[in-house]
Subunit: 365 residues, 2 copies
């Protein structure tokens, strides 16, 4: 549930806690300059950013507040953007909720650059910045590797470089791509991730300018936010049906900030169709739902909340208790408070799995 | 479950039965000529059909058999297309399963014609053909009105014309449209439907050439079939968020052949977002899920089948027992046998609602 900062420290929790979705923000492009070569520094100064997603600003996060897509209280006193100040993040999140590990997903959009080499240079810079300003400064933090994922070969090269630092535990993509993510175009990314034992995270966001529904652009942000979960569903479908998990048996996928209530119905639909149409996809050897359970995990925020709260426990039972990993989405507007995120009290063993154990095993923490 | 014809007549059922999705087929464009003016007959002969959906043939129904998207046994002995012969439909479906009422949804794509007037003339012809060849020939049959829905004013005029025949009980749209269905562009259709007390059905199909996912075209038919349910989800979202049900309080929507398991998660997501973002949609006065339950119904086929069958009863409980109306999708390849469609035995009262009562009340039969 949306929650502003509670400054009273809680009593020591019994359950350990991993937050699988925290957003650290690059304060400005200028902050990346120390990590860019002279060529790309000059490019940034003279040509600047040229993207193919003119609409992004208006529809990924709403201007629900003067903080844009962030919590009103999340602007650091030091100045700068929400999520850009580690000390303030410690105070508001890591210390306040006694978080054992936090996974940083920096949403800097290197992948939307139309100049592919510039995008790759920006991704390199973001990752070096993450190491220096975040990973080397707090032992609780881990991070996702920013990659120019629409340029899969350079993205794979970036994984090679960044994976050398043990703080990187994931590769980060977005669910709205130029082609469905199962297609061969993206396989170099999966090959590199698997080689380094890293899962591939897919996080709510976009770099493309394609309409988010098959009927074109919806009118309202609330629709954009709703149908983003459908972008996730079509990517899950693509990854399975293209045989990506047959080609990369060790590939693991994290679905981040996409919701999770839609997954059981999707598995049922896919399994039902597979029984009838498997002749079209003879490269598959298992039921679609088996690929989901073996290869995918989902973060909890934004959590769908049934009108009848016990339905949430039915849903988790349908999904499988191993599938969920807790996340706050700090510092964004729809932050989930770890102490109050669930509508119903979870059985202790399930709570431990979701708040800690599943992520601990998945990320090897 | 997919089922071929069982020629042994069943013992008399205890439960009455309404089939809410039967496909009667226009045998060929020539069959429409008697219902076209000389101008449009000439147009058909000289210019012919010009559509903007070049991909439709390959992805709405698969060539799973020599029957295209239809059951192997559904070609009438008299010749012609599956679904084109009433006598054979009686034998295979209406009599075989002792169906009390059947709703015909003719999928003729008048709405994909690039010449809007020609599309309107074809829709008029299809509806006259339906009256003469179907509605006037079997008292069990009802039908949906074919409309050129991308031309909402002519579509509304067609509703005016066709609604004069009591056999028409619904207006038929498809879920992949040029704009989201909630937008004002489509309101003349809703206004006309409400004026005549007709629900608006949205049936699995497409007339547009826009990609079905926000990441473009998927590779496989099994993906097309899966993500079609997402086209439904985004249309439901649009209809609610645009305030269509505030503007037309008597509007009723039938979601046909789109699955139904995705609806509870969608309602939860929409309600949760509405609690936080209602300022963006101040024209709404109720929770999104309340609009769904008050204004929408869903047909059962293709039914999602949980791996653990009791989950189906949980799902129906989450959805609400009043929401579902049984359908076979005859003569298509994934036909549901009324005697075997459900994985689990339904409680008798629920079975009566789904197989008969909900549709009887909704369509006023």
């Amino acid at each position: 549930m949306t929650e502003t900062l509670d400054r009273t420290r809680p009593p020591k929790r019994k359950t350990a806690l991993i937050d699988c979705d925290i957003h650290n923000a690059v304060p400005s492009d200028a902050a990346l300059k120390p990590y860019l070569s002279s060529r790309w520094r000059a490019h940034l100064e003279t040509t600047g950013s040229r993207t193919y997603s003119p609409y992004v600003a208006g529809y990924v996060y709403p201007k629900v507040s003067p903080a844009g897509g962030s919590r009103l209280d999340s602007w650091p006193p030091s100045g700068g953007l929400p999520g850009s100040d580690l000390d303030f993040m410690r105070e508001q999140l890591l210390d306040a909720y006694d978080i054992d590990y936090g996974i940083l997903n920096c949403l800097y959009r290197a992948a939307e650059q139309r100049n592919e080499e510039f995008g790759a240079a920006l991704a390199r810079a973001v990752n070096e910045w993450q190491v220096e300003h975040w990973l080397e400064r707090d032992a609780r933090l881990r991070a996702s590797i920013t990659v120019p994922f629409e340029s899969p070969e350079p993205a794979a090269a970036e994984i090679e470089q960044a994976a050398g630092h043990p703080g990187f535990v994931q590769v980060l993509l977005f669910p709205r791509t130029k082609e469905p993510l199962g297609r061969r175009r993206y396989w170099p990314i999966y090959e590199a991730a698997v080689r380094h034992g890293l899962p591939v995270g897919i996080h709510f966001a976009s770099t493309t300018a394609a309409p988010i529904t098959s009927a074109g652009w919806p009118s309202y942000y609330i629709e954009d936010h709703t149908v983003m979960s459908m972008a996730f569903q079509s990517q899950v479908t693509s990854l399975i049906m293209e045989g990506v998990f047959e080609r990369f048996p060790d590939l693991r996928i994290t679905l981040i900030e996409g919701g999770f209530a839609w997954m059981p119905p999707l598995m049922w639909r896919l399994d039902g169709l597979y029984h009838r149409l498997h002749a079209e996809v003879p490269h598959l050897t298992r039921l679609p739902s088996e690929y989901v359970r073996a290869h995918m995990r989902m973060t909890t925020q934004p959590m769908e909340e049934p009108g009848h709260p016990p339905h949430l426990l039915q849903l988790i039972d349908q999904l499988g208790p191993e599938m969920l990993m807790f996340s706050t989405d700090y510092p964004h507007w729809d932050f989930d408070n770890p102490r109050r995120a669930f509508q119903v009290r979870l059985p202790p063993e399930l709570e431990e799995q979701i708040m800690y154990g599943n992520a601990q095993r998945f990320y090897g923490l």
